[in-house]
């Protein structure tokens, strides 16, 4: 590689790519706040937290009302979002469910890269999201669907049959735990705590841009498609 090519490559690596638009970032922030409130009120009304936590929301009844109504509002909002932006949602689902069997090698390759990011080379994958990210997102989507469906049932039970209340609650709680675990991984990765993910938080809670270097490490195929000047 000529000196000029190296210089150009260094310049490209410090430039940024637009990962998320303003609308996505705002919706993500609203969703994040709603999920945190739902998780805290959900724990409070399940009897798993001290009464003091319910008191933060105005007491047992208020915490329950907050959980019920916010959960219903979020469920309706998600359904409206799917209806209004069906093509984009299907495209997003396609990116999440994108799967190639040969990508199993990505996990070992990325683990090695994670240990020595300054010397190693990030393994290639063609997806918009990396394979681990897709698993996490698939869990979040599946858990959200179950939480919304069971939550809406519980909202209207009664008059919906109370006999199904027990199974619905158990499914609701199981889905909540899947969501909690998936969100912990999501938040940890997104925080940029890992050396391979430094600067990632800005993609959702900043300008929506990521450096070309970061994009090439995490989503090399996507970076190649969007970094058409490189």
């Amino acid at each position: 590689m000529a000196v000029r090519d190296v210089q150009r490559e260094v310049t490209r690596a410090t430039e940024a790519l637009q990962r998320h638009g303003l609308t996505v970032r705002v919706l993500h922030a609203i969703n994040a706040v709603a999920i945190v409130v739902l998780l805290v009120t959900g724990f409070a009304v399940s009897g798993s937290l001290p009464d003091g936590v319910s008191a933060l929301f105005g007491g047992h009844v208020s915490a329950n009302d907050a959980h019920r109504w916010l959960g219903l509002a979020l469920s309706i909002a998600l359904v409206l979002l799917v209806v209004a932006c069906l093509r984009r949602v299907l495209s997003l689902l396609g990116d999440v469910l994108y799967c190639r069997w040969r990508e199993w090698r990505w996990y070992t390759g990325f683990a090695i890269f994670l240990l020595r990011p300054s010397r190693g080379v990030a393994p290639f994958h063609a997806g918009r999201f990396d394979p681990a990210q897709r698993v996490v997102f698939a869990c979040i989507v599946a858990a959200t669907v179950v939480l919304c469906a069971t939550g809406v049932y519980l909202f209207w039970s009664p008059p919906l049959p109370v006999a199904l209340m027990g199974p619905m609650i158990r499914a609701h709680i199981a889905a909540a735990w899947v969501l909690i675990v998936a969100l912990c991984v999501h938040v940890f990765a997104g925080s940029g705590a890992l050396p391979t993910h430094r600067g990632l938080a800005g993609a959702m809670f900043g300008s929506g841009r990521v450096s070309v270097r970061l994009a090439r490490n995490l989503w090399p195929g996507w970076a190649r498609r969007h970094d058409d000047g490189g």
């Binding site: 329950n64 019920r68 609650i169």
Partner: protein
């Protein structure tokens, strides 16, 4: 605390056994609620639970039907009790008992 009443397979119902309406009792007040036809437990288990409110104050969730010991000042008081689904919606209307603490 000891279990006061066991649930049966009958239609859900509950009664405030003590204190009796119009009675005079000493502090702490022993609140006994007889629950029939449902199990009482945490909502996460799918069981129903009790809501208790003293003098119209904040509703407290109670996930057992043991005897409850309530510390109340001298004077007239009203306790409301509600049997609630795990979703915290009422199974039956609230019941109230009014009594004096000497």
């Amino acid at each position: 605390m000891t279990p006061a009443f066991a649930a049966s397979a009958a239609k859900p119902s509950f009664d405030i056994v003590s204190p009796a309406n119009g009675s005079t009792v000493s502090d702490p007040v022993q609140l006994r609620v007889a629950v029939h036809g449902v199990k009482i437990g945490k909502p996460s288990t799918g069981d129903d639970h009790l809501h208790v409110s003293v003098d119209g104050g904040e509703v407290q969730a109670v996930y057992h039907n043991h005897v409850m010991s309530l510390q109340l000042p001298k004077g007239k008081h009203t306790i409301g009790v509600d049997l609630a689904y795990p979703t915290h919606m009422p199974v039956l209307p609230w019941q109230y008992v009014t009594f004096n603490v000497k």
